[in-house]
């Protein structure tokens, strides 16, 4: 019998991982210095960051805020930022030429915008959706002013028209087309014959109105937001309709949609804006001259609707054919299956693209400066043309860029949140 010299009776406790694999050192060696190439890249990046911050931090931190002109800044210390231009002109950058005693109106509109966005963005608050519905009218009234009734009666007319449409479908007709035609006819009659007398009457009884502010006074971020938000809200439904039209098997509708989408996507937005500012008067009855901001909003909306249509078409194409077939075999009508089966899935797939289109639209609002509207970029050149601030660049551009960055980056973060939330697989 062999004698067993040694048997370990206790398990050895696991030894701690080597110091190069855990903690800060481990993280560094795995993430930053895992290979020669990686080490070189790390050193280069750190060098780059240090160089950038080395110049930027003293420049921004020591910046002057209280001087009267760029000359004064340069006399004090030419190597730091001259943020005084922002201190002196921030009102203009935010509100354009809006009358200063009325600044509360765009401010209130902006606060309401955030409130109106909440029910749409976060379904938890969907019970406040009524506020999002009345917001557009409220915003128009606050920004442009004029009689309160002229806008609220529009709402009443549209509400009655919609209710009529819905009740016609539910109770009597079961036919979308006839119901739509009847409801449209009623609404047209309302606006042609009843609208004006009613507004005059109500104004006589209870005059509520704000001083009127003309469109050319709008500017700065107020203008960017007006154009951007209206474009975003309006282009979404139009984009869906265009995408459906392009997928439709009715050749005439398909052709019109394809032609529209390809035309709009084929030309730069600038040319469309030029059409809006120069050519539109040719296409309308002689003597018509309607609001330049409205024209721009329409063009921007049409422009991004075409892009939206393509994004949504991508989502529709990404759906398996079985979904269409299954919904058809359940006996759903075209609109029912679109509403209940197809669109929810297609829109979910296309969220990133949709939000990218929104971001693109919001950035494109800067192009209105080229047809000499006063958006922030246009105002920057106006401010630089002022004798006091002639020669200033970075302070203005950094501030404007930062504002756009915050909005656009916020939108893209929201889209990522939405994607995570709606993810149903895995």
């Amino acid at each position: 019998m062999t004698k067993i010299a040694f048997v370990r009776e206790k398990e050895i406790p696991p030894s701690a991982p080597p110091i190069t694999e855990v903690g800060i050192i481990g993280w560094l060696s795995q993430n930053l210095f895992s290979s020669w190439l990686n080490s070189i890249l790390t050193v280069l990046s750190v060098y780059f960051i240090v160089i950038m911050l080395w110049d930027f931090i003293p420049w921004a931190y020591g910046g002057h805020w209280n001087t009267k002109s760029l000359r004064e800044c340069l006399d004090l210390d030419p190597d730091v930022a001259c943020f005084s231009v922002l201190a002196a002109r921030w009102k203009q950058l935010l509100f354009g030429l809006y009358p200063s005693e009325e600044y509360w109106r765009p401010t209130l509109t902006f606060i309401f915008l955030l409130l109106a966005a909440v029910p749409i963005l976060f379904p938890k608050f969907f019970r406040f959706f009524w506020f999002s519905i009345i917001y557009p009218g409220l915003a128009v009234w606050l920004l442009w002013g004029g009689s309160f009734w002229s806008i609220s009666i529009v709402y009443i007319g549209l509400t009655v028209g919609t209710l009529l449409f819905l009740s016609l479908i539910r109770r009597y007709l079961k036919n979308y087309i006839i119901a739509a035609i009847l409801a449209f006819f009623f609404t047209a009659v309302f606006f042609l014959f009843i609208y004006n007398p009613l507004v005059v009457l109500l104004n006589g009884i209870l005059p509520i109105s704000l001083p009127f502010v003309e469109s050319l006074k709008m500017g700065g971020f107020t203008l960017s937001l007006i154009v951007g938000v209206t474009g975003i809200v309006a282009s979404f439904p139009i984009g869906i309709l265009l995408a459906l039209g392009r997928q439709s098997n009715l050749p005439v509708i398909k052709m019109i949609c394809v032609g529209f989408i390809e035309f709009i996507r084929g030309v730069p937005l600038i040319t469309l804006l030029f059409v809006a500012s120069v050519l539109l008067n040719y296409f309308l009855p002689p003597g018509t001259n309607f609001d330049i901001v409205l024209r721009v909003v329409i063009m921007v909306t049409l422009f991004s609707a075409a892009y939206m249509a393509e994004v949504i078409r991508g989502g529709l194409a990404g759906l398996p054919l079985g979904q269409h077939e299954a919904s058809a075999s359940l006996g759903l009508t075209y609109w029912q299956s679109q509403r209940l089966i197809i669109m929810p899935q297609a829109l979910k797939i296309s969220i990133p693209g949709i939000v990218n289109t929104f971001i693109g639209l919001f950035k494109d609002t800067t192009l209105v400066s080229i047809i000499s509207l006063r958006d922030p970029v246009g105002l920057a050149s106006t401010i630089r043309a002022d004798q006091k601030w002639n020669g200033i660049y970075w302070e203005l551009y950094v501030a404007i860029g930062l504002m756009f960055f915050i909005f656009c980056w916020g939108m893209s973060q929201y889209s990522q949140y939405l994607e995570r939330k709606l993810k149903t697989d895995k």
Partner: protein
């Protein structure tokens, strides 16, 4: 057993046009068509009336009239005595120039940034996402004016290069001068015999392609692979290189030099051109980087694992398995980004670069007062470019997309 009752005989009722699915589509289309045509004729009618009121007609004769304005950036001979049509052509070429150069820079940068963003190196990945987010979330117009300000404000005037101890010096071995009037590069000068060199280079490329085909065929037939990269590189470069010295260096560089208060000779890249091209390229490269990243990430990990289990080496996995699948995803949005860059080049007006919108849609339009015609031509040009590109995308999709059902 009861015989099946005959289908109820239907008489056509007018309401069936709207309620019966057999006719509804047709009547809907007829209604749409009528509305569409009505709107169209209304617009045309308005235009005719408006033109009559303004005492104008529609004619493109202005294209053959003397333009009378100068364009400092041009690729073809042009003077103020040339016609408006010529000015438009100069503008078109300028647009295409910006688009071409911009697309190349954007692609290179975008590939670089997109791949680095996938790097395991934390700091590099973060830096690259900062680059992408920074450029994507700020309007391109702002980038254009910022790059222009950078180029004009932070560079020295040509006279700073003067004197024994100048304030500014030329970079890259005294060959490139970056001034606030633009950047001056050395220009290649083709002397006698240079065309033979070009011909030789062209032939070597053809030879290189044939060699690669041969090597491929040989590998398929015998299973042996040649060191294709080195041989093809030698086939392409060596003959031209030898010929260059054998013919006594027929291509030389002409360096820019300071004369008076400005630089002479060399290639003069104006700041307007540089600012526009660089800003568009940076901006677009951020989008391209995201496309590249998405394309690479979309190829599932199983693909590379399967390839590895077949015994393929990493570079072959990349070349034969990952890239072909990633490219299928990358190429269509890549091309549509090229198209976006081309369309965004119409922002040239912000820095005073004379592209087609600046000549045909700018000065020509203002001088002749032919808004309708100029805008039609301008839109026609952009439409033609974009239809050309989108038909290419469609062709690509048709020939490379995986076929399902």
């Amino acid at each position: 057993m009861s015989s099946p009752s005959p289908p109820p005989s239907e008489s056509f009722k007018f309401s069936m046009l709207l309620s019966d699915t057999r006719y509804r589509g047709m009547s809907l289309q007829v209604i749409t068509f009528i509305i569409f045509m009505a709107v169209f004729f209304w617009l045309v009618d308005n235009t005719i009336k408006n033109l009559a009121l303004l005492d104008k007609d529609v004619s493109f004769n202005f294209l053959w009239l003397r333009a009378g304005y100068d364009i400092n950036q041009r690729l073809i001979p042009y003077s103020s005595d040339s016609t408006h049509g010529m000015a438009a052509l100069v503008g078109i070429l300028n647009t295409l120039l910006v688009a071409f150069v911009g697309c190349i820079i954007a692609t290179v940068l975008g590939l670089f940034v997109g791949i680095l963003r996938l790097s395991k190196n934390w700091i590099v990945a973060k830096l690259m996402s900062a680059y992408i987010e920074g450029f994507r979330n700020v309007p391109v117009l702002l980038w254009i004016v910022m790059v222009f300000a950078l180029l004009t404000e932070f560079t020295s005037a040509p006279r700073a290069f003067k004197g024994a101890e100048p304030e500014a010096t030329m970079v890259f071995f005294e060959s490139v001068a970056i001034t606030n009037r633009g950047t001056y590069l050395p220009a290649p000068v083709l002397e006698e015999g240079a065309y033979w060199l070009l011909l030789c280079f062209g032939l070597s490329i053809v030879a290189g392609i044939y060699f690669l085909r041969y090597a491929n065929k040989k590998k398929k037939d015998t299973g042996k692979s040649l060191p294709t990269f080195w041989i093809s590189a030698a086939v392409i470069v060596l003959p031209t290189f030898i010929l260059f010295f054998a013919m006594g260096q027929p291509v030389s560089l002409e360096y820019p030099y300071l004369k008076g208060f400005n630089f002479k000779d060399g290639i003069h890249l104006r700041n307007s051109f540089l600012a526009l091209t660089l800003a568009l390229a940076f901006y677009t490269s951020a989008f391209i980087a995201e496309i590249v990243r998405a394309g690479i990430m979309a190829v599932s990990k199983g693909q590379s694992e399967a390839a590895a289990s077949l015994g393929l080496r990493p570079n072959k996995i990349m070349r034969l398995i990952i890239l072909p699948q990633a490219l299928r995803i990358i190429v269509p949005p890549l091309i549509s980004n090229y198209l976006n860059l081309t369309k965004n080049s119409s922002l040239a007006i912000a820095v005073g670069y004379m592209d087609v919108r600046g000549t045909l849609g700018g000065i020509t339009l203002n001088q002749t007062g032919r808004e309708l015609e100029s805008m039609l031509l301008l839109m026609g040009f952009y439409l033609a470019v974009s239809l050309l590109i989108s038909s290419f995308i469609n062709y690509f999709n048709r020939s490379f997309q995986i076929v399902v059902r």
